[in-house]
Structures are given as C-alpha cells and as structure tokens.
C-alpha cells in the first residue's frame, strides 16, 4: 500500500476499518514523511513512537474492541497544546524544553478517539503573528511556491503555520490549530486547506497556552470539510475545568453534512469590499457567491457597519489580555530563568522576560500594559469592549436577514518570508476579515476556492450564527464540491 499520506481522514478511517491497511502502516508512512520534510521546519518535535503506539492500539482494537472515531489516524499538534511529557513551548524561548505533566483537554479528547501524535507543530510565538515568523524555532516555510519559476520562500500564514504547512505538504493528515484572530483560517487559506474555528466555548481551553482568553479557540485544520467535521467532533465538548466552556452536547457534524443549501440565505457584507485587495480575491469572492447560489442558497447584501473598527478593537483587547496572561512567565517556577550577577528579583524578571520573549510578544505585552494603565484604561480598553459589543450586535442584526456570511479569508495570497516583518501594521491587516468573527465568538471557516494568477491558493471564509458550525460546514462543503480545488504544492523539499 503506497501513498497513504495522500488520503483524507475519512479515507484513512474507512480503509483502516475495511482492512485495506493497518494503522501501523499509516503511522509508519507518516513518520517517514515527517522525517523527510524537515526543510519545511513545520515540526518542532517529532514523536514517531507516540504515533506508532496509538496505531498499534488501534490495530489491536480493530480485532474486537470499540474503535474511536480517529482510531488509526496520526495527527500533528500545534505546540500551544500541552502534551504530557513532550515539549510544549508555544514557540517561545521562555518555555524552552518545558515538558508539562498534563495533557490538554483537546488533545486528550483526540487521544481518547484513538488518534496518535506525529509531533508538535511550529507556530508564531504565543500564537502572535500571521506568518509563523515570530517563532523561536525560525519560520516555517510554506510548501507552496509561486508559479513564476522563482523559489522565494513563502509564509504558511500564522499563527498555526506549522499546522497549515504540514497538512498542505502531506506530512500530517490533519492538525490542531488555535484561532484568536484568524490563526486557523488565514494559514488554511494560504496553504489551500480547510480550517474551522468553532463557536467560542466549543473546545476547552484547558491545557492550551493562553494568548487572549476571551478569543482563543481551538479547531481542526485538514484537507477537506468532512475531515474538519470528523476532527472537530472529537475535539469539542464541555469541560468543567474551563469556566468558559459551553455545557452543550457535541452535534454529529459529519453525519449532518449536506451541500444542499436550499432555503439558506447567504449574506455578503458590503463593508468587506475594501481597497487594496487584489482583483483575484474579488473575483474568487464572486465565484463563491455563484457557487452558493448554485447550491440553492439565496444571496443577500448585508451591512456590518462596525467592521472598520474590528482590527483596532482586536489589537487592544488581545494584547491587554495577553499582557496579563503572559505575566506568569517570570523565571520563578519553570521555563527560562536569567539571573544577572548581583541582581534582585526585579532584575531577574527583566532579564528573563527580555531574553525569553521575542520582539512581537514584547510589543504586544507593552501595548496591552499600556491600554490597561491608569489614565488610559477607559480611552482604550473600555472603549474597545464597547465596540466589541457593537460588532457582536452587527452580526446579530445581520443574522436576522441571512443564515451565513461569505467573505474572502485574507486580503492577499501568501506573501514572502520577510516581506512584512518590518511593518507590524501591514502584518496585522492580514486578519482584517477574520477578526470580526473572533470578537463575536462566532464559528467561521476557511475553504480553498482556487489559485491566484501566481498559482497560490486563496480561501473563502464562511461565518455562521453562534453554535451553527453545521451551517458553516455545509456551506463549506458546497464550495468544496464546486471549486474542485485539487491543486497540491509541487514537492521541492
């Protein structure tokens, strides 16, 4: 059996259950693929034994026991998820070699479903970035290259850049991601894969290194909409250890998949037609509208008037929460500790944090500290909270006249590594379409729609009502079926 690494999760599952191949064969092929793709810098840790052990357990269970929904499937795990006994560093030097004694709820759920772990995936430091260039391990290189014949290294998007690159390069059938302001959807769009951020609270945050608590949400990144549904079902669920976790049963999303959108109204927000977006993206958006119409949906124009404030709002709230969430990395109990000769406690804090955090993380801690400071709190933080409420209300109002919202995922295709590192604001602009759904806590997904004129993938973005992951997945499926996106990066690594 060759090329197991080209199969989807659904195909792997069905082939394994049907006896076409063993889980061990799958794990072995993936382990080999992972080892042969180190040029991409997607994995920070490889855990072939973990993948094999889970595979062997699945093979044994196939003989008689009950099989979990992901039995025999090895996955890549973003380095933000705590994995017992395996380095968990959030892409940061300050957590260098940190091995937790605990397993995040989401990865524990995946393991319970039978999944194994291929390794930990590179990411922007503390999930702060849109290109995977802020990682202490260096950038992930996208498997995609422009069709111009040049070999410029491209960004895989971020912060889940290791996850997107691994899935696109065929060195993981699927991977976990986390999304605070687009960190699942933008990298998925950049690499031609699917990724869904569920409703805030669907996936437990317990054991996921916090960036911005009120926004952080885990989700799957996979090659197909169906694979996203399968994996999200395994990841989600109420967790009493997370106070913000939703105490609701997990819907059967895979079983509920249907690309028939009759009776559905798809909203097109007029405010998302922003200047400076390449024509290719506008054209893809129009094709997306046609595809959904073709699937039976009615298309309506909607207004999300506060969209233009979403990005500044996000860049107040997320850094504010991060500045507090990251205070625990102080060199006292774990992680990096720098003790300057003759220095006191304050000197240890300063040296540890200056040396342990990269420039982007330091920038956001400073922004966050500033906006929470006495004298600035109301002007920034309180105001941002109010705008966040207005943005939520925009969506509530829009969902009175539509069931789903379609937009592009990102304002551009993948850019070159180094292109935007000198200009944080242009980097932040990458999340302009993704951030409003994050602020509103709504489920949202990126699905590949086609290639731009340079041969790079572009994504379409679907935003649903709170808890309506099914609606998002179904519209994603309708696009997937019509887009016929089969392009793969040509192997150069």
């Amino acid at each position: 059996m060759s090329e197991l690494t080209s199969l989807t999760i659904a195909q792997l599952r069905d082939g394994f259950r049907g006896g076409d191949f063993s889980a061990r064969e799958v794990a072995e092929q993936y382990n080999a693929a992972v080892a042969s793709a180190r040029l991409l810098n997607a994995y920070t840790v490889e855990t072939p034994d973990d993948a094999l052990a889970a595979a062997d357990a699945a093979d044994q269970a196939r003989g008689g026991g009950e099989l979990g929904s992901l039995a025999g499937i090895p996955l890549g795990i973003k380095d933000l998820f705590a994995t017992r006994g395996v380095n968990t560093t959030a892409g940061s030097r300050i957590l260098k070699d940190f091995k937790p004694e605990y397993e995040s709820t989401v990865t524990a759920n995946l393991r319970k479903a039978g999944a194994g772990m291929l390794g930990k995936l590179n990411m922007d430091e503390f999930a702060m970035g849109s290109s995977n260039e802020t990682s202490t391990y260096g950038p992930v290189i996208s498997p995609w290259r422009r069709s111009d014949g040049g070999n410029a290294a491209l960004a895989p998007g971020g912060s889940s850049g290791g996850s997107s690159a691994a899935v696109a390069a065929g060195i993981a059938p699927a991977a976990t991601g986390t999304d605070t302001g687009g960190s699942i959807r933008q990298p998925a769009a950049f690499t031609g894969i699917c990724g869904i951020k569920p409703t805030y609270g669907r996936c437990s945050r317990w054991g996921i290194v916090s960036f911005a608590s009120s926004l952080d949400q885990a989700g799957p990144m996979a090659r197909t909409v169906r694979d996203c549904a399968i994996m999200l079902e395994a990841m989600a669920g109420f967790d009493p250890k997370d106070s913000t976790s939703l105490d609701l049963p997990v819907p059967k999303w895979e079983a509920g998949l249907s690309s028939d959108l009759k009776g559905k109204r798809v909203g097109i927000p007029k405010e998302y037609r922003i200047d400076g977006v390449p024509a290719d993206i506008g054209a893809l958006w129009d094709r997306g509208i046609d595809w959904l119409r073709d699937a039976g949906a009615e298309v309506v124009e909607i207004s999300l008037p506060h969209t233009k404030y979403a990005l500044p709002t996000y860049y107040i709230i997320a850094p504010a929460e991060a500045s507090s969430n990251l205070a625990r990395y102080d060199g006292v109990r774990y992680g990096l500790r720098e003790t300057p000769e003759g220095g006191n406690l304050d000197a240890m804090y300063a040296a540890t944090r200056a040396s342990g955090f990269g420039a982007e993380v330091r920038r956001r801690i400073m922004i966050g500290t500033y906006v929470l400071s006495a004298g600035f709190y109301d002007a920034y933080f309180t105001k941002a909270q109010k705008v966040r409420t207005l943005i939520k209300q925009d969506f509530e109002k829009a969902f009175e006249t539509c069931d789903l919202i379609l937009t592009p995922t990102a304002p551009s295709a993948a850019f070159g590594l180094g292109d935007k590192t000198a200009d944080p604001l242009s980097m932040y602009l990458n999340d302009v379409f993704a951030v409003p759904a994050s602020l509103a806590g709504l489920p949202a997904m990126s699905v590949p729609g086609g290639l731009d004129e340079q041969g790079l993938p572009l994504g379409l973005h679907l935003i649903g009502r709170e808890l309506d992951e099914q609606g998002v997945l179904n519209a994603g499926l309708a696009i997937e079926e019509r887009a016929g996106f089969t392009a793969k990066p040509k192997r150069w690594w």
């Binding site: 937790p100 605990y102 290194v209 608590s213 009120s214 997370d242 106070s243 625990r328 929470l372 006495a374």
Partner: protein, 492 residues
C-alpha cells in the same frame, strides 16, 4: 476605669484630636478544605509546596474554576452582616509581579463585588446596653491569597512556598466609622465572632486566617477628614489597637510640628509596637485591574440565595436578646454569646432543662474560672453540657448545695465522673435532716456563748458566722435554707 463610651481624644499641643479608623479585614474561608479556584488543600502548617495544584502554580494553560462552597460562605457571611447580596458579580485581575504571586495577577473583585453594604453592631461596654454603635460595611469581595517567601532558607536566595497561593479570602471593608482603639478592637472581635458563628472563617489570627489592614487618619473633632495611612497585615486584635494608637499619636505629632501625613502603606513592628513606611503613594503599583477573561460573571439564583439564608445559624445579637428574654443578665448574655463555641455549649446546656439564669451564672462564674485554671477553652471542656446539666439539676432539686457543687465540678473536671455518681459515692448529698442540723447548732451555740450574747445585743452580722460554723460542722452537706431557718428559730 475610664468611661468606655466617652469620646476618645488625643491631646496635642494645639488641642484635642479625633482619630478616624477603617479596617479592611482579610478572612480566609476556612469552611472549605479547597482553594478559591482549585481543588488543592489548605491546611495550616503543611510542608511547603505540598498543597499546590497546577492552577495554583500557574502552569501554562491552566484555568481557574470558582469553588461554589467559597462563594456560598461569602454570601452567608454577607447575610450575617445584614449586607446587600449582589446577584451579579464578577472577578477582576489585579496585575503585579512578585515571586509569591504565580499568575502575575491576583484574581479579586474590584468593580462588581459579591457583597455590598452592611453593618456590624458593637457594644463598647458589655454591661451597658446603651453603649452600642453601628459600624458600616462598605463591601465584601472574594479573592485569592498569595504564597509566602521564605528568606531564611539559603544565604543568598529566597524560597517560595505556594501552599497559601490561591486560598480563598473574603476582604471585608468597613466604613471609616471607628473613632478609638477600643472601637476598632470591639469591631474586630465582633466581626470575628460573627464569622465563627457563620462558620465561614475560623477567625484564627495567629495562623493568619484573619488579618487586618488598618486605615488611620486624624482630624480636629468634627473637622475635615485627614490624610490616611494604611498599615498592612496586622494579625491580632491587640496589635490593631496598638497600630491605631501609635499611628494617631504619630500623625498628630507630625501635623503639630508643621509636617503633613503622607498617604502611604505602612508596616507594623510587633516587637516595638510601632509602624514604619513600606511604600509611598508614588511607589504604588498600577494594578491594571480588568475583568478576568477566564471566568464568567457570577450569577446567583433564588435557590442558592435561599439555601444560604436558611442555613444561617442564630447570630450573636439575636442570641443575646433571646438569652436576656430568658432572664439572663445582660452582662452574662453578652459574655455567653461573644464566642460561637461558648454559645453552642451554653445552648446545649439549656437543652438539658437547666434553669437559664442559674445556668448562666454557673457557666460565667464557676465553669469559666475552672477552665481558666486548666488553661482550656470551652470547646475542650472536660465537662460536657449534659454532665453540667446533671450537676445543676442536683443543685436545683436540693440534692446538693452550691458549695458541694463546686467540689463536684472539680472532681468531674479531674476524673470525668458523672455528678450523681460522685455525690452518691462520696456521700455528698445535702441533708435537710433538722435533727442532725439542730444537734450541730446546739453544740455551736453552746461553744460560742459570748458571740450569742453579742448577737442578741444587736450584732446582727454575726448571723453569718453561725451559718458558716454550722455548714462547716455539717461538711457543707446541710441544706443552707434549713440551716438558716433553724438558726433563726433558735437565736431570734
């Protein structure tokens, strides 16, 4: 003794000064064995870092989950202070760096506390019902405690013990309603008594389960409020009173010398009874409070509130009034209700059917004295309420006399024997046998003919002498009433 209700004034060079005091009391919720947001244990005196969960140590990705019982105890405490219970409250983060604060922030409640305004009634003079005063409560919020630094374990490094990190505290903030060290002391004692009645906090100040930040300012009586200082973490009633006294005098002296009181945080030195600057207002942290995004707002429903209310015990003031209604003197009632343990013990004694006022007298005069000699608290009393009830019953029905009762109590305390058994075995039963009593009286009158003559010529006070002699001769077992009657019959 000075009049406890007279205004407390500090006499300065420029005249009299009034002191204004507010207390922020941090009371550990000892009713539950786990922390505010984690399941770790909270026992006092455990080995360092043995009561620390992943959450308390602020490991990456750990999240707080409120402990329902902590919230319940804080709500019950609020109710006992007659305070507004806020159905909707929220946790905020107070951000600052210190090695004993693993998260880099304390989870507290600044903007929307769990409990709002209430009050505590204090008595400045236990014997005087009219010496009452109300001290306002501004708010109670719940928050996490920090860990502890240990500076004496290594020559150049400090160690951190996180056992206390994350322990649930109630911060009970009073209004600046107190005007003397005595009032501050009375308030703190009363508050502690209420917490113990409610059961939310054991009030043990030595073990740190209760401590106070003392806010003090001075002013000319009735004038504008002065600048206050805050003395942190004072851990006994006596120390709080010392802080008030010291701070008030220090401030008066400072102002009268032409200086100004600085708004600052101070530290108490219990060895010297003085306070010193910890940090000035300029060095104050900017805590960057903001709502904790890891936690949802706390919303209390009717059933929860109702359960809190119905599970409250009878509180000290109500109990005192009930005791007074039973004919117990105000002083005894006040003493018996001052501590929850005493009141619980006394209630158990009343349940045996003991006559209330006699029982109260006996507990306050006899039992307290005996326990004092033994150095024991009432909760460790060797005589149980049931045994005491039996003993008092023997006095009430005339089986033994009051003085024999004292002997029996001593024996019970020593041996644990039941009163009836002691009386029986040692033949301590009181006798009303007039024959035996008369025969002893006759002997005494005969032997003291001179005193009989004196008595008859008007020295009435000698009557007591004859009673004493008769009782002695009867080894205390004679019924005093019968002795009185027989003596009168023979002498008058």
């Amino acid at each position: 003794m000075a009049d406890a209700t007279a205004p407390f004034r500090i006499k300065g060079e420029t005249g009299e000064w009034e002191v204004v005091i507010g207390l922020e009391v941090h009371a550990q919720i000892t009713a539950t064995a786990s922390k505010l947001f984690s399941g770790a244990a909270t026992a006092f005196g455990a080995e360092p870092n043995t009561q620390v969960s992943l959450i308390d140590a602020a490991m990456p990705g750990m999240l707080p989950v409120p402990n329902r019982e902590c919230i319940r105890q804080a709500v019950r405490t609020g109710m006992a202070l007659d305070a507004q219970i806020n159905r909707w409250s929220r946790f905020d983060r107070k951000n600052y760096f210190y090695a004993d604060l693993p998260q880099g922030y304390q989870i507290s409640q600044l903007f929307h506390p769990l409990v709002g305004e209430g009050e505590v009634e204090i008595l400045l003079d236990e014997k005087d019902e009219t010496s009452g005063k109300r001290v306002g409560i501004e708010r109670i919020h719940v928050e996490q405690d920090a860990g502890k630094l240990m500076h004496d374990q290594h020559p150049t490094m400090s160690y951190v013990d996180l056992n206390r990190a994350g322990v649930a505290l109630m911060e009970i903030v009073s209004r600046p309603d107190m005007r003397s060290p005595a009032e501050a002391g009375a308030y703190l004692r009363k508050l502690r008594a209420i917490l113990r009645y409610v059961g939310s906090c054991d009030g043990n100040m030595e073990e740190g389960s209760m401590r106070a930040d003392v806010n003090v300012s001075v002013r000319k009586p009735g004038g504008e409020l002065g600048t206050r200082t805050e003395t942190k973490n004072v851990n006994s009633v006596r120390f709080v009173m010392q802080v008030v006294d010291y701070e008030a005098r220090r401030q008066v002296e400072l102002i009268e010398e032409g200086g100004a009181v600085a708004q600052e945080t101070r530290l108490f030195d219990p060895d010297r009874g003085t306070t010193r600057t910890l940090r000035s207002k300029e060095d104050a942290h900017d805590y960057r409070y903001f709502p904790d995004p890891d936690l949802l707002p706390l919303e209390l429903d009717d059933a929860f509130i109702e359960e809190c209310r119905s599970s409250l015990p009878e509180l000290p003031d109500a109990k005192r009034k009930r005791y007074e209604g039973l004919g117990i003197t105000p002083y005894n009632a006040s003493v018996l209700t001052a501590e929850a343990e005493t009141a619980r013990w006394f209630d158990a004694l009343l349940e045996t059917g003991a006559q209330p006022s006699q029982a109260a007298n006996w507990v306050v005069a006899e039992l307290f004295g005996a326990l004092n000699r033994l150095g024991k608290g009432i909760e460790e009393s060797p005589i149980s309420p049931a045994q005491a009830g039996e003993l008092l019953g023997l006095v009430a029905d005339g089986t033994i006399s009051g003085s024999i009762a004292k002997q029996v109590l001593e024996i019970t305390l020593e041996t644990g024997e039941e009163a009836a058994e002691i009386v029986e075995k040692r033949g301590l039963k009181q006798t009303s046998d007039t024959g035996a009593i008369d025969s002893e009286i006759d002997k005494i009158l005969e032997a003291n003919a001179d005193k009989v003559a004196d008595y008859k010529s008007g020295k009435q006070q000698l009557f007591g002498f004859f009673v004493g002699q008769t009782m002695k001769a009867m080894q205390g077992k004679a019924n005093p009433q019968v002795v009185n009657e027989r003596l009168r019959a023979k002498l008058d």
